[in-house]
């Protein structure tokens, strides 16, 4: 299998890896870079557990080739907390018990952050549409939506202070 050398940026750090050309970005992140936050739930774009951002846009990393990352900027769940300080979304997911097994959680967090970065005060409907590409099989969606609403409020407060 043809392998290719790729230089990219992951969570702000320059990274190089060699990967087979038909390997998904998800497998590269997990198996080569040790970033196992993004999960493979389906591998076909349906569940969103593999969500990351690529040049600032939310994507399913299972539907991106590792070689496509050349020269791009990737952000994963591992880059979300500020050192030991959790992101408001992460904190609110805990406080609202918006997770059980946790397999879907990194994907929901990355997708919710992508939403709030664009739209700091989404309506409940907007949140539900924005998270339609993320499936959860244990918690149910209400707690997740509440957590996103609470985090949006926290984030609006924080940005006012600044």
């Amino acid at each position: 299998m043809a392998s290719q050398l790729v230089s990219t940026t992951v969570n702000g750090d320059p990274v190089q890896f060699a990967c087979p050309t038909d390997e998904s970005l998800l497998n590269v992140l997990r198996d080569q870079l040790g970033l196992t936050g993004a999960k493979e739930g389906c591998g076909t774009g349906d569940c969103g557990a593999c969500s990351v951002t690529l040049d600032g846009r939310l994507v399913c990393s299972c539907l991106v080739l590792g070689v496509e990352a050349e020269g791009r900027e990737i952000s994963t769940i591992e880059g979300m907390a500020d050192g030991d300080k959790l992101h408001p979304l992460q904190q609110q997911f805990i406080d609202n018990a918006a997770l059980q097994c946790g397999v879907c959680t990194p994907g929901f967090l990355v997708a919710a952050k992508a939403l709030l970065d664009k739209n700091p005060s989404p309506t409940e409907e907007e949140i539900r549409y924005a998270l339609a590409g993320n499936l959860c099989r244990c918690t149910g969606y209400d707690k997740i939506v509440r957590a996103v609403q609470a985090a949006a409020k926290d984030m609006r407060k924080l940005s006012k202070k600044r």
């Binding site: 299998m1 043809a2 290719q4 050309t21 038909d22 998904s24 591998g43 076909t44 774009g45 349906d46 969103g48 969500s51 690529l54 846009r57 939310l58 994507v59 399913c60 299972c62 539907l63 991106v64 080739l65 070689v67 496509e68 050349e70 997708a111 992508a114 939403l115 549409y129 924005a130 339609a132 590409g133 993320n134």
Partner: protein, 285 residues
């Protein structure tokens, strides 16, 4: 698999032409990657078109809009001028998949994937969109309804790709709309899709185009449905006639998401609703 990401259309076409085995154009990959992951295809070559500058542009031209083949639906949604001129095309492109899929999927990929249920295609057909097709020795511009020949089949030669989709310049007092029926509210495949584009003169419909998706092996343009609208203000009689023409044009499959009878009936219902929205957007009263 060889992966190439050329920076010009010419190089991309030369790569396709030069490959002896199977070669695929990679746009957003939201169809192609699924097929790759499911081992439905074993490409010898993938030509990623996302690094080709002209394919990443949306341009307003003297004759309308030119949308590069690598422009994502998310980007289309952010283009105000396009949304104003062709709201139906943009809403159709914005219905494809989740936000994750939107960041990647393209209308050219939606077209070339050749699914009978592709959401943006009825809107493109109704709009009279054209595909700029580039091959090794020639470049041609063809109506989008000439690209898809059957489920999963296109009229593109092996060395050809779509460089851009063009939309005509919009006449004053025009509007378009796309509606689909799915059992859920998001993330599902159309059971029926319908697009209507029309232009008014002195308050009545002067020209119209009606296209249906998911009710036949390819998206169908229904001239009889358009004729039923022309010269009217969408009175009940005109709408009934149009709905009947739409139902008559259906040749759908029977599956778990919709029976033949259901799809045939819903085609007419959706067409009426889409026509009313298009009429309103054109400023009709």
């Amino acid at each position: 698999m060889r992966y190439e990401s050329p920076t010009t259309t010419k190089e991309a076409v030369a790569l396709l032409a030069g490959e002896k085995g199977s070669a695929y154009v990679l746009a957003g990959g939201t169809d192609l990657m699924v097929r790759l992951r499911m081992d439905l295809i074993e490409p010898d070559l993938m030509v990623d078109i996302k690094r080709i500058p002209v394919m990443n542009e949306v341009k307003k031209t003297a004759t309308g809009f030119k949308i590069g083949a690598a422009v994502s639906s998310a980007e289309l949604g952010e283009n105000k001028a396009l949304g104003k001129a062709w709201p139906g095309v943009v809403e159709a492109a914005r219905l494809i998949g989740s936000d994750q899929v939107q960041s990647r999927c393209t209308i050219a990929g939606n077209l070339c994937n050749a699914s009978p249920a592709a959401d943006s295609v009825p809107a493109l057909v109704a709009a009279g969109a054209k595909a700029v097709v580039v091959g090794k020795s020639k470049r041609r511009t063809v109506a989008v309804d000439k690209i898809v020949t059957g489920p999963g089949e296109t009229s593109l030669a092996k060395d050809e790709l779509v460089e851009a989709i063009t939309l005509p310049k919009r006449a004053a007092r025009s509007g378009d709309a796309y509606l689909r029926f799915i059992p859920r509210t998001e993330m599902d495949i159309a059971v029926v899709g319908c697009a209507v584009s029309l232009t008014l003169a002195r308050g009545v419909v002067k020209t119209a185009r009606v296209a249906l998706g998911a009710v036949a092996p390819t998206v169908v343009l229904v001239p009889e449905a358009a004729r039923a609208l022309i010269g009217t203000k969408l009175d009940d009689n005109a709408l009934e006639k149009m709905a009947a023409a739409c139902s008559a044009a259906c040749d759908p499959i029977d599956d778990k998401r919709g029976t033949i009878e259901y799809r045939t009936r819903v085609a007419g219902v959706l067409a009426k609703r889409a026509a009313k929205i298009a009429f309103e957007r054109a400023g009709g009263k």
